[in-house]
């Protein structure tokens, strides 16, 4: 059954990439759900988080502290802290001063922010690819052999496990905690929530930070999977994750998760079919197709205009 194995392998690879898209997509979807705007600089937060993770790992290895759990913990901690700082700063600098005006204006300022961040890293860290060896070598083979079977690396298993945990945590936070409830209230009606005494500035900043944290988690995991980073990576990752968010229905968190997985799988099979160079074309065509057929996405609610 080599055919079947081949497709299963593509499915596993697609799901791996897709689940990280899903994490980044949640950042887009949460911000959109509350202020109705795209955080254009989100992809750059992901890129910066990847650099910080690599810096943490490389730094500790230089000190001789290459104990695997320690490296992982440090990478997660460092990139989450720095990404949160970036998420918060982006909101403060490029969104908050512009609230309530023409919708085009924050969009443009966020694009400026994105260009700025990409070039900041480009100048500080140069444009060459940076690579680390795999921290978690080894594979799990399902089937007779690597040639006739499905190969799942331990990194991939780690990715699935961590993402499952993070999603669970996020769902609990949104549905159970006080702040999560405030977030939902703001998504429902920002003005009303403000009138009821919720500090909406704080909640908006919080969604930027949550999005940044999830992007940081995705950055560490994808960094482990691919082992290569460069300053341009945020751009494409951002487009992909946004596509995933639209695919699933922007504003909906489960939608972003589903959209991410679907996009990852579609890309894997698309690349298999048309060649690797056209992977991004597949993702983009999917976006246009979804907008054409079902503008609200798979799980999105149709918008009712207030006339």
């Amino acid at each position: 059954m080599p055919e079947l194995y081949h497709y299963l392998q593509q499915l596993v690879n697609g799901l791996t990439v897709g689940s990280t898209y899903a994490l980044i997509a949640i950042g887009y979807t949460m911000v959109y759900g509350i202020i109705g705007m795209i955080n254009f600089a989100h992809g750059e937060v992901y890129m910066i988080a990847s650099y910080v993770a690599f810096i943490a790992i490389a730094g500790l290895s230089m000190l001789g502290l290459d104990h695997l759990p320690l490296l992982m913990a440090a990478a997660f901690a460092a990139s989450i802290v720095v990404a949160s700082a970036y998420g918060y700063s982006i909101e403060r600098l490029a969104y908050r001063p512009l609230r309530g005006g023409n919708r085009l204006i924050p969009l443009i300022s966020a694009i400026g922010m994105s260009i700025f961040l990409q070039n900041e890293v480009l100048l500080a860290q140069d444009s060459r690819d940076k690579a680390i060896p795999s921290l978690l070598p080894g594979n799990l083979v399902i089937g007779e052999s690597a040639m006739h079977g499905v190969v799942i690396s331990w990194t991939q298993i780690l990715i699935f496990a961590v993402i499952l945990l993070v999603m669970l945590g996020l769902t609990l936070f949104i549905s159970r905690s006080r702040l999560g409830r405030a977030c939902r209230a703001c998504a429902e009606d920002l003005k009303m929530a403000g009138l009821l005494g919720i500090d909406t500035h704080r909640i908006i900043a919080l969604t930027f930070v949550i999005g940044a944290v999830l992007a940081a988690v995705a950055a560490v995991l994808l960094g482990l999977q691919y082992g290569v980073i460069n300053p341009q990576m945020g751009f494409l990752a951002g487009i992909k994750a946004f596509t995933a968010a639209v695919l699933g229905g922007i504003g909906s968190i489960p939608g972003a998760m589903l959209g991410g997985l679907l996009l990852g799988v579609a890309e894997a099979f698309g690349a298999d079919l048309f060649g690797d160079a056209y992977k991004d074309v597949v993702a983009f065509s999917l976006l246009v197709l979804v907008l054409l057929l079902r503008p609200t996405g798979i799980l999105g609610r149709p918008e009712v205009e207030k006339v």
Partner: protein, 418 residues
């Protein structure tokens, strides 16, 4: 601890968290190992200084703000001036006043300067075209460079495979770009505005990916070279004419001067910009121009009055794309070479920055912004690596402080004469 102290501390830590890991530490590949080193001491000191500065500013910001507001109560005279400057009539006269020197100047200037001016004119045209979409219709198009690429490759391919000349291809290139704009805009413009931004962004990238990978047709990363320059009614500006053609200097009995070609290209670019200006000025006074404005203000009211929002937006989007197509085919003719890398997202960002800096909807402003945006990097070569960084910062700062641009223009109002 007082709230203010806590805010100040938090802000300072924020600056450290944002700046130190990315700017203060540098990843270097040594052999096959990745190592982390400290950045230059100057950089580390400036990060520390920035954090300290933030701390002090947050502590004393109320007092500073009070000082500032005391000093900033300026008289309102510039307000009058601003009002006059933003009148459409003033700007029209401003443009006309610029025209005469623009026509005479190249005959006395150096070849390099004229060449640079041609480049500025290309960007002015792109800025004006994008201004139709962003400034007049209020649609954010981030893949404008995609249509520019379509125009450039249309001419390059037609010239390469069928040997068609520039003047034949110019309208075809415009039409092709408009067609792409139409096909892309049709599904997307029915939806909320933000989708357009991201879809056009993706579109720009896809065009580039296709151009790079369809090697058989487009020459892949190497692009297409040897594209013919425009001719003047069949007279070429090369030293020797191809068979069946005549040279410009031969026809007029002049000595050959390679600067003629540069000046001729400059004049074509100027003519194209003037054409664009003329069209935009008419558009503002046509029903469609009014409909764009109305749609920007209240889409629901427009629908209730029987205006089809999709068609109206599509017309702006298609028209904008068409001008990018014109500019693209001229670009191909000027360079003689097109490669996919000339059409990266950066270009879209530069064009957008021109529109934003000039003032959305303003013609004179966009032209001045094109001059600034293209000339400044040329003048400050030593800072060229900071160019994009500054662009990014400029976009943010402009939006925060002066979203209407440096030289905004009021829309010409139709007056009822009694």
């Amino acid at each position: 601890m007082s709230t203010r102290l806590r805010t100040a501390l938090f802000s300072a830590l924020l600056v450290l968290a944002v700046a130190w890991p990315v700017l203060g530490l540098k990843l270097t590949t040594v052999g096959i190992r990745l190592e982390v080193h400290n950045a230059s001491p100057a950089m580390l000191w400036s990060i520390a200084a920035a954090a300290l500065g933030m701390f002090c500013w947050q502590l004393g910001r109320d007092r500073l703000a009070a000082l500032w507001s005391g000093a900033a109560s300026r008289p309102a005279v510039p307000g009058r001036l601003k009002e006059v400057l933003s009148l459409p009539a003033t700007q029209r006269w401003g443009l006309l006043a610029l025209l005469v020197p623009a026509l005479v100047w190249p005959f006395f200037a150096s070849r390099g300067a004229v060449d640079l001016a041609t480049l500025i004119l290309i960007y002015a045209m792109l800025g004006l075209g994008l201004n139709i979409v962003v400034g007049l219709a209020g649609l954010l198009d981030l893949g404008y460079v995609g249509f520019y690429a379509v125009g450039a490759y249309t001419y390059a391919l037609l010239s390469e495979y069928w040997g068609l000349g520039f003047w034949t291809c110019l309208p075809i290139a415009g039409a092709m770009a408009a067609l792409f704009g139409f096909l892309l805009g049709f599904p997307v413009l029915r939806l909320r505005g933000d989708y357009l931004a991201i879809v056009t962004l993706g579109f720009g990238e896809i065009i580039r990916i296709l151009l790079r990978n369809l090697t058989d047709v487009t020459g892949g990363p190497n692009g297409i070279g040897g594209i013919d320059k425009p001719t003047l009614f069949g007279l070429t500006f090369e030293r020797r004419a191809a068979e069946g053609l005549q040279t410009f200097h031969g026809f007029f009995g002049l000595p050959y001067d390679s600067a003629d070609k540069v000046i001729f290209l400059y004049l074509i670019a100027l003519a194209l910009v003037l054409l664009t200006l003329f069209v935009i000025n008419r558009l503002l006074r046509m029903p469609i121009g009014r409909a764009w404005e109305a749609l920007r203000e209240d889409e629901i009211a427009c629908r209730a009055l029987g205006l089809n929002p999709t068609v109206i937006k599509l017309s702006a989007f298609t028209l904008g794309a068409c001008f990018a197509g014109f500019a693209g085919s001229f670009f191909a003719a000027r360079q003689g070479l097109v490669t996919p890398e000339s059409f990266s997202f950066i270009e879209s960002a530069v064009i957008l920055a021109i529109v934003v800096l000039g003032g959305m909807g303003s013609q004179l402003g966009v032209i001045l912004a094109a001059v600034v945006m293209i000339l400044l990097p040329e003048l400050m070569r030593e800072f060229s690596e900071y160019r994009m960084l500054l662009f990014g910062a400029l976009l943010v700062l402009m939006m925060v402080w002066r979203p209407q641009g440096l030289l905004p223009m009021q829309r010409p109002h139709l007056e009822l004469k009694s």
